[in-house]
């Protein structure tokens, strides 16, 4: 039986973090040298945690599947990072950032964690500036801010359209400084294939060298997973090709609860799918909705003519265009939150008004803004995005509207953690997108970077000491203990089993099949019947995978197909979990929309009396249905209300 004690400290929500720090146990410098911490992942959360642990004097082993820590997918974040600095003097505060984040998450996050996130947000900006992160500045030399969806203040710091890149490079440089100092051992092109448990605690990992194919045993007094989200379950997503949920699944299989797996964010402004060999979807920044108007033709025959290539969007008269967001949501118009905008696009396309060759696209039109502000002003604001669009689509968005469609972008669900970011497995921690903690059912723009760095720089360095303080006399293990040997053998057997299948289908072809099932039944709009079908179809895909996948090559040396196959095995498991969780949650909230639970106008309808909890799934064994446990959510400060954007 798993223990879901969230360990929320005593006191009013604004004093909890101070109270925690005042009472927590510490490890003295001499003892830190005797303790090893394994950090898996080198994105914002992983790199910032590993660097900070190293600076404190712990021995750190840091793993990444990439050739360099700097490749982690945090690097692709465009928009910015939120903080409650209130530099623009527009009424922001820690309380307001906290409140907006809980509300934006549709009241499905834990208050105490979100408040701490808002509290440390300001420290993150200070830290990054000290590292030399080149944030955008005003002519007076001070930092510039911009506004983002879901907030009435300007609290977003940014570095051109490359904020994620610059923050990651900052964390990467701090990490490399520790590598140079000898406190961090870096393992590149190395994948974690299992977590080693000794006496009920996480004590190490089994890793696989992706270049040689060799298995390695690594001991750590504690293990931190910072391996990102599982959006690639859908095959097509805005995630990088290598992003995967495998470390999270290994944790789940060792007893870590997986919380709210069905909470996945669908981003409304992505470049649409163009053909069956599409490998990933490219995000166009949310900021475009500030000046772009979203529409589809009013008449079905116009939409059909456009799809057949007989009509151009610029030939459609103003009166024949349906600016459906402005029509449905006059108060927020094109700036409704991501989940609302995505569902509205799907509704129009399903009704037969979609454009593009596939009919799965809507227009994002800058004509009105160009007329109002001039082309130069639009170029100054969005030039790099327009150029990116043109390179991919070969259309000039200054002359003709962009085509966009929603795509899977971020997963709010993940490994369940308590206030200390510890999972239900003692000694196993989870940080960043890999955990479930702060965004509830929907994440606001510019909050992912904030959470990743908060966990790594300012939360784990405190909370992990509280755990390690009891371990100071625990000697290092050699890796030759029975638990390590057994775990390595088990991992090896899994890889050999995959290689032995020798079927007829490529890994990608099966992954695409899984992705289509996920998108059709566990995507933007879900219903009971569809989810039940999805669970059956995923079981069929699992059978097909384990009987018919073909992996050329051997276990030795680099084998990319083998890597992909082992990750797909885990995606199949995540897909099943997502469907089960979505089926269980009989309400609509944030990114999770159940068609049975909507208002008369088609808006999401929460069921607070029944579902104000985090659904935490416990693994029961291969081919057995997982068991769900509840962590009830109580709101002491935030007033729970229905979101309204009309």
């Amino acid at each position: 039986m798993i223990n879901l004690d969230s360990k929320i400290p005593q006191g009013p929500v604004a004093e909890k973090w101070s109270n925690y720090k005042a009472g927590q146990k510490l490890v003295n410098p001499a003892n830190k040298r005797k303790l090893d911490i394994i950090v898996v992942g080198t994105g914002l959360a992983g790199a910032s945690a590993a660097a900070s642990f190293g600076e404190m004097g712990f021995n750190v082993k840091n793993f990444t599947i990439q050739d360099s820590p700097r490749r982690a997918h945090s690097i692709a974040a465009q928009g910015g990072i939120n903080a409650a600095k209130n530099y623009p003097n527009d009424g922001d505060s820690v309380h307001r950032l906290f409140y907006d984040t809980v509300k934006g998450g549709d009241y499905r996050a834990r208050e105490a964690n979100v408040h701490r996130l808002a509290e440390v947000s300001n420290d993150i900006i200070d830290q990054c500036v000290a590292q030399g992160v080149p944030f955008a500045r005003e002519y007076g030399g001070l930092l510039d801010n911009r506004s983002f969806g879901g907030a009435q203040v300007s609290r977003t710091f940014y570095a051109k359209g490359q904020t994620g890149q610059q923050l990651l490079i900052g964390a990467y440089q701090a990490l490399m400084r520790q590598v140079n100092a000898g406190t961090v051992d870096l393992y590149t092109r190395t994948e974690i294939v299992d977590i080693v448990m000794v006496d009920g605690k996480a004590r190490g990992v089994i890793a696989r060298d992706l270049v040689t194919g060799e298995f390695q045993r690594h001991f750590g007094h504690a293990v931190v997973l910072a391996t990102g989200g599982y959006g690639n379950t859908f095959f097509l997503s805005t995630n990088a090709m290598g992003s995967n949920g495998s470390a999270a699944i290994k944790a789940y299989q060792k007893g870590a609860a997986f919380a709210n797996p069905c909470f996945a964010q669908i981003h409304p402004t992505c470049i649409p799918v163009h053909g069956e060999f599409q490998s990933k979807l490219t995000l166009m920044s949310e900021s475009l909705r500030n000046d772009g108007r979203i529409w589809v033709p009013k008449k079905k025959e116009d939409a059909e003519a456009i799809r057949a290539g007989k009509l151009k969007p610029t030939q459609i008269k103003e009166d024949d265009r349906d600016y459906y967001l402005e029509r449905r949501y006059p108060a927020f118009g094109n700036l409704v939150p991501r989940d609302v905008a995505s569902r509205a696009a799907k509704e129009r396309c399903d009704a037969g008004f979609g454009v593009g060759a596939t009919g799965l696209a809507v227009y994002l039109d800058f004509k009105a803004s160009i007329e109002r502000l001039g082309e130069d002003a639009i170029r100054a604001r969005y030039g790099n995005l327009f150029q990116m669009y043109e390179k991919i689509v070969d259309d000039n968005p200054y002359d003709t509207p962009m085509m966009i469609y929603p795509a899977i972008h971020y997963t709010m669900g993940g490994i369940w953690v308590d206030y200390e970011l510890q999972t239900t497995v003692p000694g196993l921690f989870a940080a960043g997108e890999a955990n479930f903690s702060d965004h509830g059912a929907n994440r606001l723009g510019a909050s992912a970077l904030m959470q990743g760095l908060a966990d790594g720089y300012f939360v784990l360095p405190y909370t992990i000491q509280n755990y390690l303080a009891d371990d100071i006399s625990m000697p290092r293990m050699t890796g030759d203990e029975k638990e390590f040997v057994d775990a390595e053998k088990e991992a090896k057997d899994k890889f050999e089993k995959l290689l032995a299948i020798k079927g007829n289908r490529s890994v990608d072809s099966i992954h695409k099949e899984l992705g289509l099932v996920m998108w059709d039944f566990v995507g933007m709009a879900r219903n009971k019947e569809g989810l039940e079908q999805a669970i059956e179809k995923i079981a069929d895909i699992k059978k097909e995978f384990y009987s018919n996948v073909r992996i050329p090559g051997s276990e030795e040396g680099m084998n990319v197909e083998l890597e992909k196959a082992s990750r797909l095995a885990d995606f199949i498991q995540i897909g099943d979990l997502m469907a089960r969780d979505a089926l269980n949650r009989e309400e609509s909230c944030g990114g999770h929309f159940r068609e049975e639970f909507q208002t008369e106008e088609g808006e999401a309808l929460r069921q607070d009396d029944k579902f104000a909890y985090s659904a935490c799934w416990e693994y029961q064994g291969e081919d057995k249905a997982p068991v769900m446990h509840k962590e009830e959510l109580t709101f002491e400060v935030v007033k729970v209300a229905q979101r309204n954007y009309k």
């Binding site: 360099s68 200070d126 030399g132 051109k160 490399m176 400084r177 990088a240 490998s279």
Partner: protein, 251 residues
């Protein structure tokens, strides 16, 4: 409009770092001009797997031009025949029906081949570890607005910091020099007051590490700037030389 083209590919295949490599020729019948170059590689690999052969190993990840992972030498140019793009942003509409495309890994002493088109770029990490940071630890730093920074300096630092560490500059340089990469980092940090403190030491240590790892010297051919997908300027190299000289005079 998108159409389908057929291609002949000459691809470098090499089983391991110490094995001998060779070109293999493959035919692809229907490739949409709307596909990206790496999606074309996916099509090739799907075909190879379905024929029971080993797919071509190549590095890639974000597929939106920012992670710096993709690294192909296409028809003699790093990141192929388009300007200001990484290989993942290159699209097949840049190629003609029936064309033969030659695909090689980065070729440079500093980047040994691991397999097929994948090379080892750990040397870049080692150069950063030698000094490409400000020596501040987490916590205890001043308020972010305590120190105003002139906007032009901040903007110039941002331009230098936009380097994605892909290695195209080294791959295209006839000397295999990493000067553009090193100078981008030295400039980024030297232009900001936070990084100014250690500027000359940083230049000295990073250059020493670069030399130690077998990268060549800069002879100002300017090829690196032309092929840099992020448009990092060679004026950074002048700034690096200045910092380096200052450090030498101090010795």
């Amino acid at each position: 409009m998108e159409k389908n083209i057929s291609l002949t590919l000459k691809v470098w295949r090499q089983n391991g770092p110490k094995e001998k490599g060779r070109f293999e020729t493959y035919k692809l019948e229907t490739v949409s001009t709307g596909s990206s170059f790496l999606e074309m590689m996916d099509i090739l690999n799907e075909q190879l797997v379905n024929e029971g052969n080993e797919p071509v190993a190549f590095d890639h990840d974000c597929r939106e031009g920012i992670c710096g992972m993709c690294s192909l030498y296409i028809n003699g140019r790093p990141h192929g025949p388009d300007d200001d793009v990484t290989t993942c942003q290159l699209h097949m509409r840049k190629f003609k029906d029936g064309e033969t495309i030659t695909i090689e890994p980065w070729r440079s002493a500093g980047f040994p081949v691991i397999k097929d088109l994948i090379v080892n770029r750990n040397a870049f990490d080692s150069i950063i570890a030698a000094g490409g940071y400000t020596s501040v630890s987490t916590g205890g730093v001043p308020d972010a607005n305590a120190l105003p920074i002139p906007k032009p300096d901040a903007d110039e630092a941002m331009d230098a910091a936009s380097c994605i560490g892909c290695g195209a500059c080294v791959a295209t340089c006839k000397n295999g020099s990493a000067m553009l990469f090193v100078s981008a980092k030295v400039s980024h940090l030297a232009l900001l007051p936070q990084g100014r403190v250690e500027a000359s030491m940083r230049a000295k240590n990073m250059v020493a590490k670069m030399d130690e790892l077998g990268f060549g010297n800069c002879t100002n051919t300017g090829a690196c700037e032309v092929e840099c997908p992020k448009g990092v300027s060679i004026s950074n190299i002048a700034r690096l030389n200045r910092e380096f000289l200052v450090a030498k005079f101090k010795d």
